[in-house]
Assembly symmetry: D2
């Protein structure tokens, strides 16, 4: 049995990740916490509430609004990917459930500290909420059972700049705080997503053909991502970084390859804001390469290198066909 | 006909690159300029002189000692790859030819500025000499016919840190100066080298079997690289970033794929010293991704994405079999 | 009437500042919040509780423990100035009052947001607590009546490095967040303290001669600062940055000169961690000096340039003689 | 007897410094080297040549054009202080002497290395030329007798930004290279200039009343500085950082107070480009203040803290009255 908090900037794929977790037997979603990221903050809250309703969980999972903007940087957004409402401009009606009055950071600390070693967190947004919890309560990291992070790159191209992926780019200071806080932690990178989170056009059609309420919701909300992919790459598929991260958390047999790495985040660079440095066994020992670097610190994250895309798509299909 | 200056930190593969160029019909190597990098500076000078002698060019190509250390950073070296003498500890005798009295930077400026548009430069070392020439003479970049650079990464793993390749890491300020100086320029990255510059164990055996003076020289000098590869990766092959860069310069038909990119170099980061930012058509326009980034600057380098490894090995074999 | 929260890393002068505020008619200290800084965090909490007791306010002002360490940096401390217990190693007994269970950041947000425009904050520690409140609740800054900050320098020598004062150096990211959050704010710098916060040896003797419980407490707790000054500068006086800041807050007629300035904090430098950039009317317009700098942003802080030292000492004498 | 090279961005006060040195018995100005800085580079060359002519040294001191722009940064200028021609828009005729063909960096290296321990350098411009010489020839610093630098601040306000003085701001990388190169070196800062380099309105009138060719030249060229001072500060005096630096070099008895300091230059900051960190005996040992800082490096520059302004003005008066 998994007790889960989902930290999310709810737009597009964030919703599908929620659906996967909400659908999974044995998983209790204890809270959804909202963090500034993809689109307008209040719309993100509404999207989370609406997704719960669509999943038949309206009123059953509290939604806590959290940090509206990054710790130190100007907010940026990803409306150009997800549409203005983050839902392919579906403009859904307001859900009946309303957000909690208390703050996500407080909720995270309260739930985790009163259930030490019990709570898993899926962080699929910029890491501002998680970092703020760490700043406020240094024992937070040690009390979380496992932190699953969608963010960063694994020595490959980013999606905001060559150096950086969106979640880490938006709030690099938060990412640095979190990566160095001592969490038991797994990192699911944009690099992995590009490789193994795609749902192909034919598979999308299969999902649409299920014609369930959830599959219709998926197909509608996913439209902007498909359009973006078509416009940019000429291919009608879509990438699912958050949903893939959720999937491998729900079923670790989807992890085909991973490594324990030293991961840190650049906050000082001119070209490299939010770059995630991920160690590699292919590199010489860093103190040999440059004695000034000193010895490497111990591994602080398991980095997923390869995931079972077919099984992921199957899991999506099952959840959406329910 | 190509009029060429080779800027080199002569150790291991630097020598093979020199052999390729010296052997190539229609190419005049006008000078060899030495830049601090792989190993002890004076030994690098000797290695260049000895390589000329081995190639039968002793006394025919002037060797100019240049900048002994990076502009602003403490020197590091790569003796752990190439042996203490940079020649797999072969400890060759001193060549008859002696280095020129004048400085590489002065030689570069003098030769290029008195032959505007005529001189090609192959830069296969940290870029200190080239950058110093730019600082001293801003018209230098515009007067060079083409600059071929071995350095940087192409959105992939470095070889000193995850973020950076040796030549750019050693002198990032020089690399930044050079990349922004306005050269007509081609970049051959470590990423390309990992992919397409390897000579496999069987091919190395073929080269050894040629049993010519040059093949014997190659086999001996290459030993440390093979040992390094064997010790680290369990494979008895060797990588040839400098020689591959020279090969594609000598015969551009070896370039199978390339793109015009915006390339810049990180000098400010805590984890990303010497990171080469290489733009990608897969990224959203940067002003869409983050309006603060403004519009991208025009492409300033052709980046090689794929090279013909088999043809490269053939070229090496021909040169060494002569 | 002033409703005040004191945010403090309680050691030495922090206590005297508390005494001033607690003694002042018309001022209600609504809370004391503790922030990591001068010495061991838990000892700081005890020092605050004991100071309340000494001031006859034991049990009447809640003390909220806050952030134990800086947002991103390793903690440093100032035990070398204040003694191991921050009280000149007086090792006072434990106060009867105990700290609150809830966190300083939560308390700050709750008190301020439920009394918008009513609460004054005196920040005499690293700014981690205040910044964490801003990160969590962006409306916090606008809801505070006035924020008085002891920190930074005013184009003069720091006290940790040449570039930086202790509070800003310890948590530069927090300082940057706070200075850019939109507070109505006054900055009392280390530069001001060096100039106008000293209590001279003869004045210290006068205070000792009062021989009240508070004057004895002061004299004992202040001993380490006097010793530090004597050892370093050969003068038996002591500096009182926190108490001076409190004094000018309590009686603004002590402000002899001030200016509205653009203040920002360096977090990226190699030598300048925590440097406070304070604009000056003596500088050319920055867009004239360097067009790349663009136009200056509007003033965000009143910076105190000169204070009435004699009146400050009088205020201390009155409070301690009571 | 002093053998001197003056490195200058010849505009306004740079000329007066030249006049002082050229007038001084026992001083041989071996070369003037021009570095990009105050105004248009070629105009700077002309200003140096014209100043030599005015001083009666036309054709007797070679003028070498050097680096036209900073190593890595976009050039900025100070035309807003000195007028478009750097000579208060006097638009003097072209001098008869023409600049040398060879480059300042080469000249600096050649003269110094062939006269080791003999040559004094007065650096009154951005440090690009000197740094380029160091990069090219690491023995350069050790072969210079003494380097006098006008640049940086001494824990006080800059003149481009709060953090930085013009010469260090324009080329911070060069300044960092030079300060760490191992020169026997004296630093005359903007802080010193503000305090002790002013020539008061009455003194300016006295100089004008001398009515010699040199005093007329001075009065005319100095006009823009006086106007700038009047417009900005409402005072009709002028500051003479370069001339004061020259004066204390020519007669060290003008140095009233100085200290051996650790000086370094910030190149990484967001707000602190070109900040000069100058150590102070008033600071705690840095490894006590923050153990991560490690032990301080040895002093690398004598920093002038107080100069004899009256004697400086006298020296100017004598030189201009000749
Ligand atoms: Ca997300
Ligand atoms: Ca090389
Ligand atoms: Ca304090
Ligand atoms: Ca000057």
């Amino acid at each position: 049995a998994m007790r889960l908090i989902i930290d999310t900037d709810t737009a597009g794929d964030d919703c599908f990740s929620m659906l996967l977790a909400l659908h999974q037997p044995g998983v209790t979603v204890e809270a959804v916490t909202i963090c500034g990221g993809n689109i307008d903050f209040d719309q993100q809250v509404e999207n989370a509430l609406y997704t719960l309703e669509v999943a038949g969980k309206g009123g059953k999972v509290p939604v806590y609004p959290g940090c509206r903007r990054p710790m130190m940087r100007k907010p940026i957004d990803a409306e150009y990917v997800f549409g203005e409402d983050g839902m392919s401009d579906a403009h859904y009606p307001r859900a009946h459930q309303r957000p909690e009055a208390s703050h996500a950071v407080q909720a995270l600390i309260d739930i985790v500290m009163s259930n030490p070693g019990e709570i898993t967190i899926l962080a699929q947004a910029p890491l501002t909420n998680i970092a703020a919890a760490v700043v406020q309560e240094p024992r937070f990291a040690g009390a979380v059972k496992h932190l699953w992070i969608m963010g960063g790159t694994d020595n490959s191209l980013g999606n905001v700049t060559p150096a950086a992926e969106f979640n880490f780019y938006v709030d690099p200071e938060a990412a640095q705080i979190v990566m160095n806080a001592g969490f038991a932690c797994t990192l699911s990178t944009w690099t992995l997503s590009v490789q193994d989170s795609g749902i192909l056009a034919a598979e999308l059609a299969d999902i649409a053909a299920l014609d369930t309420p959830l599959s219709r919701f998926f197909t509608q909300v996913n439209q902007a991502s498909v359009d973006f992919s078509m416009a940019r790459y000429g291919v009608g598929d879509s990438l699912h970084p958050d949903a893939l991260t959720c999937a491998i958390m729900l079923d670790e047999s989807l992890i085909l390859e991973s490594g324990d790495c030293v991961v840190d985040v650049e906050t000082q660079g001119r070209l490299t804001r939010g770059y995630s440095s991920v160690s590699s066994p292919r590199l010489p020992a860093q103190e040999v390469a440059d004695p000034e670097l000193g010895s490497a610190t111990p591994a602080n994250a398991r980095v997923i290198r390869r995931a079972d895309r077919a099984a992921f798509v199957q899991m999506m299909r099952r959840a959406l066909g329910a």
